[in-house]
Amino acid sequence: MIVDEDQVLIKKTLQGEKKAFEELMRKYEKRIFSFVIRMVRNEEVAIDLTQDFFIKIFTVLDKYNFEFKFSTWAYRICYNLVIDHIRKNQSQVNSLDDDSISSKEMLSSENVIRHDGFNNLSQEETRLYIWQMVENIPTKFRELILLRYVQELKYEEIAEITELPVGTIKNRIFKAKEILKKEMEKDGLPA
């Protein structure tokens, strides 16, 4: 069995080394926080959920199976925590469960903060704008875009985390990209 850097830190944490767990948190805090904040769209809630996530990880660390990749196991816990929170939050349930929502409805003028003069946007501004649009697509698409591009996971890993078939994941990511591309065209973003 090959032991990677994360697993060394886990072993040290389990032996009581505080610094090892701190190092593990430092390694993942940015990516976890970025994922959580884009999912819940509220900084205070994201901070609370990130804290809850790391505390949960710490409490169940002795149950971690060293045969599997730590990141996949951790992201799965994070994903479940966030989805549970969204499901409990009535206002977000609609977008999570609505499969029939059209591209136009997904990015209605109420949902997306719009600016004028896109043709004059710099590359950096375009990047920020696209990522802002990502935050406004329905949860079922957003979660997959975030897992794929923020967490940099493979389709197979995303399937393991979300318990969705790889085909569904690819299809949803494709639809999400289609929506984003349409928006780019509509708003005249530079190619």
Binding site: K18, F21, E22, M25, R26, E29, K30, R31, F33, S34, I37, R38, E44, A46, I47, T50, Q51, F54, I55, F58, T126, R127, L128, I130, W131, V134, I145, R148, Y149, V150, K170, F174, K177, E178, L180, K181, M184, E185, A191
Partner: protein, 186 residues
Amino acid sequence: MACLPDHKILAYLDDEITSIEQSLIRDHLLICPGCRQKADRYAQLHKILAQPVNSEPPAWLVPQIMKRIYAETPHYTAIAALIAASFIFFVTWIYIYFDFSSSSLIQALRLTSDSTASWLVNIIKTISVIYTFVQAAFKASHAFLSMLLNTLPGTTLVIAFVLTFSGLLLFATKRWLLKKAGAVKK
């Protein structure tokens, strides 16, 4: 070759098609400006998504989680200190209750102090003095309490004191717990 559907372009950009399909799509993109424009758009989107805008968590987040995690973990030194304190309290109580200061063992030790190491004698003498003092304080407070409890105003005073002291202790504990929770929440 007919114009390419979007999913084919995306599969091409993601390298998820066979090499034959890849060359066919590449050839089509060279001759079809419409599909090429679409592919350029998706390529740009792909590039943007591959460079996510990461949100910075607050700098205090990790230290706070560490504080919360390790405060909740049982502290073995604290437990050992508690056991030691309980033991000392128990020994003191037995010493006072059974009046061991006049016991034959202590008396024998005092009489043989010349043959015992001076540092040990000094320790025993110091402990003996402290115990004698505590015993005196205990007996005095016991007598004072008995006197108070024999009268109604005295009993009321004792009850009032116990209630006030318990209330203050409860208030202090609650305040400490709230302060601890306050350090966790923003």
